[in-house]
């Protein structure tokens, strides 16, 4: 039988606020345990949560970017469950009236396959703390630094039909939240993690099969492995006459398989109700418009613009817009040159600069060569002052210096010699000194041309303009 896979993703993006969603505690990653957990985060009696305006703005920002409805009025609810890293005994979340609903995101995968994925909703909630199960003589250690960190849970429609589509969607969303500056998207630190709802059904059937939920996937690779494993597992259960139990499963990266989290099912009785400590959040049109005005240009639109305005190839445009910092860098360079330099800039950024950053293990925001420095270098390459090889030498020098390219060219005397008269004079002397080779060339042994170019280069210590030499040679050696 042919089976169809159906996947929906719930993605938790940690919002990049300075303080927590309901308290004035810091959200800095990696602080000593419990030093960023105040009375509100600890759930001490008598405290009152007050909502962080920036978290609201960020949620609206995402909502606008995915063309969703922004609720003019939304409500926080308590999601009740018992766990020691949740001190209040409930998580403040949103249930019936989320801040964002009914959005969509276009994804692209496998070279040019495109599809629009529905986003059911995105709601604000607080994160829980962290449980450490090792090394406490039979007890569990609790760190509440993460408790109260703002999260945006983004829930897709069951529109995804393969692990590859799921990864494409997740990557697109990951890129988007970072473009918008609302999340650092750091997956190692848990700032962007995913639960996958997976089911299969016979091809052609419209009713969904029973689904399982795979929890807490924190890398693209794990999402792919977990979904592939789970799909195979469900198909083999069904084909051997069994049925799928709706349950929560955990992915074990070491074994590459998903396992049932038995006994957790009853915890799904969350008994949601509106949180009486928080009043309804009302967003007026002016607030939403103010957020809209500050939205950055979105990656897809920017990519199209790089192609249509600058003539970049789709492949280069994709790479340059993958991260906002790269696209910003590129734009600064091209603004001080002109659109004709687009291809040159792309080549240098994706070649030399990418290699340099890779070697130094640096993000482009910490690049040793600023966009102004690179622009200065490429300007001299464009106007013929530098040859490709000399430009690489200047590039290397720029990576250790705050000087601009012109100063380095000046200091090191790296200007390419394009002075036709000087080159011609040197060439004449060389031709006169090697009559034998001139004869050979005229007799059809054109390889000898390389010998003359080499001799001229030697005379100018490698700085003569190769185009000028070639043009002169062609003229002088032509019969």
């Amino acid at each position: 039988m042919q089976w169809e896979t159906v996947i929906g993703l719930e993605i938790h993006a940690q919002l990049a606020t300075r303080s927590k969603i309901f308290s004035g505690s810091a959200t800095t990653y990696g602080a000593p345990p419990n030093t960023q957990a105040d009375a509100i985060d600890l759930g001490l009696p008598g405290v009152l949560p007050v909502l962080n305006a920036e978290a609201v703005r960020m949620a609206v920002c995402l909502g606008l970017a995915i063309q969703a409805d922004i609720a003019p009025r939304c409500v926080f609810a308590r999601k009740n469950y018992f766990y020691p890293d949740l001190p209040k005994g409930y998580q403040i979340s949103q249930y019936e009236q989320p801040i964002v609903s009914n959005g969509r995101l276009e994804i692209e995968w496998d070279e040019g396959q495109r599809k629009t994925i529905g986003i059911t909703r995105a709601h604000l909630e607080e994160d829980a703390g962290k449980s450490l199960h090792e090394d406490f003589h039979g007890l569990t250690g609790i760190d509440l630094n993460r408790a109260g960190t703002p999260l945006l849970e983004i829930v897709s429609e069951p529109d995804l039909r393969s692990a590859r589509e799921a990864i494409a969607y997740m990557k697109q969303l990951h890129q988007l939240v970072r473009y918008l500056g609302i999340s650092d998207g750091n997956m190692q630190e848990g700032s962007f993690r995913c639960d996958a709802n997976v089911s299969v059904r016979p091809s052609g059937q419209t009713r969904f099969g029973t689904r399982t939920e795979i929890k807490n996937l924190n890398s693209f690779r794990f999402v792919e492995q977990a979904i592939d494993f789970e799909v195979e597992r469900q198909i083999s259960v069904l084909e051997s006459g069994g049925s799928i139990i709706q349950e929560t499963r955990l992915f074990d990266p070491a074994r590459g398989e998903t396992r049932s989290m038995r006994g957790k099912e009853e915890a799904h009785d969350y008994r949601y109700f509106p949180d009486p400590d928080l009043l309804p959040v009302v967003l007026d049109a002016a607030f939403i418009e103010a957020v809209r005005e500050r939205l950055p240009e979105l990656p897809d639109i920017r990519r199209q613009r790089f192609i249509s305005e600058h003539g970049l190839s789709p492949a280069d445009a994709t790479q340059l817009t993958a991260q906002r910092a790269w696209a910003d860098y590129y734009e600064t360079v091209i603004q001080s040159l002109d659109a004709r330099a687009a291809k040159l800039i792309a080549n240098w950024m994706l070649g030399e600069l990418a290699a340099l950053l890779n070697r130094c293990d640096l993000e482009i925001s910490a690049s040793p060569i600023s966009s102004e420095q690179l622009a200065g270098l490429l300007r001299r390459l464009q106007d013929g002052t530098l040859s490709g090889n000399l430009a690489k030498e200047v590039f290397e020098a720029l990576s250790h210096s705050d000087d601009d390219a012109d100063s380095i060219i000046e200091q090191r005397g790296l200007q390419q010699v394009s002075d036709t008269a000087a080159i011609e004079q040197a060439l004449d002397a060389i031709l006169a000194a090697h009559p034998e080779q001139v004869e050979q060339y005229r007799a059809g042994k054109t390889k000898v041309k390389g010998f003359f170019v080499g001799q001229v280069m030697k005379a100018f210590k490698g700085k003569a303009n190769p185009q000028t030499i070639n043009a002169l040679l062609d003229r002088k050696l032509s019969p």
Partner: protein
Amino acid sequence: MQADEVRHIAHLARLAIDETAIADYARELSAILDLVAQMNRIDTTGIEPLANPLDQVQRLRPDEVTATDQRSLYQQQAPQTEQGLYLVPKVID
């Protein structure tokens, strides 16, 4: 409400309840649910649901870090701490 439901709810809230008191809880909780059922019968057509009795909207706080580290103060009242962590009975994952 049945005894089983009382046990279930108590378990969800991790409340230890006395077996002999379950019948009383069931009766009292049923009375509360009856009251809710009675309210549910009121015709609320056209009435906007009320999330909060206060006729106000949520005030928003600027995104500023205002809390300072008071871990040692908060941990004074914890039964057990170690290396800055609160220690609790082992939870099986």
